[in-house]
Amino acid sequence: MSGCSGTLSREHEKLLIGRARSGDRAAVRELIDLHKDRLFAFIWRMVFNYHDAEDICQDAFLKAFASLDTFSSEYRFSTWLFTIGYRVCLNRIRRRKALTGEMDFASLAGSGSDAASATLQSEEAGQIRDLIWKAVDRLGAPQRATIVLFYRHEQSCQEIARVLQLPIATVKSHLHRARARLRESLESLGEKDLLHLRNLSA
């Protein structure tokens, strides 16, 4: 998580958007640099494919800057960008489903294991981490988006509701179901694993 957007003040963001609207290339670049990593991380978790994620990310930025005049400063730029990114993701997932039938998320998941974990170093911990991510990857798109935005991007239910364009109650319901699915997936863990989990969570 870049966290850049978190440190970007509303005033500075408004200034950047104003400059970007008037065609200031430097402002456009700054906005891209501030948000690209977080947007890509979110999209990658949705589509599980680097090139697709990059395409969607690019598409989302292009759409966002093409319709910058319609952006309302009432919201954060990141919220708006994530909304566009999520919509593009959904379209891509639907198209892929139409081409290949129902997607097998389990077969697509697991590429995240390539990355080293900052928190879980041991082999056992790595397995648990994989188990958790695979459980997330098996969730439906709205539930997955909800849980990724909530935990990884530290967005509130209200912000998630704006991004996914859903009522807050629906977002909370998605979060509840996603947690229930996570719990079900991890209930098979033995006492040893649970002890490991408790130690990690402490």
Partner: protein, 216 residues
Amino acid sequence: MRCEQAHQLFDAYLDGELSPSLATELGAHRVRCADCRQALAILEVSGHILASDHDGAALEGDFSDRLLACMDGNGLGWGRRLLRGLYVGGPLAAAAMIGLAFLGVFDTGQKTRILGEKHIRSEVANVVPDSIMPAAGDRGSGQDQALDIFLQQAEKSLDAKRQSWESLQKAPDLTVLQLLEMLNALLEPAEGSPPDEAPFPGADAPASATSDIEDL
């Protein structure tokens, strides 16, 4: 607190939305209940891992450059699309307008429309006297043949009007009746025509039919 009640509070607890008193009650239940302790531990650790784990993939360093180049390309593309639209769409739109005008779409009905072949055929059929028709046994084909010839002659007379939009615009007062009068007028010279120029010049045309035409 029962386990069912505790489970209902999990979300609020994890979201930090639980009141202090309920949080205390849930904490007390958690100490006593191994199942709830396990369930909450799983959720807490899952959340911790989801929040802090490294991203599975990262964008390449030149993403911003490529995106900016793409945006520049798109900008030019819009210009090109606009120019192409003017070059291609303009003439197409003009052609469509002429076509629609030719079909009489802009004629509000007070003035005549340029008649389609089908319409001319039906109008001509209404005014062609039965007397010019061939013998009863051959009436259908003979009538069609007669109408074809009348139509050809009518089209010849309208050629000038059909060749350009301007000429059509100059003749908006051509009514159906006037057209039919024109057709009748076209029929008149056939009286003096030699038999090989009669409306039924075909070798298979019955002799009676030729004479009927001549009678007109």
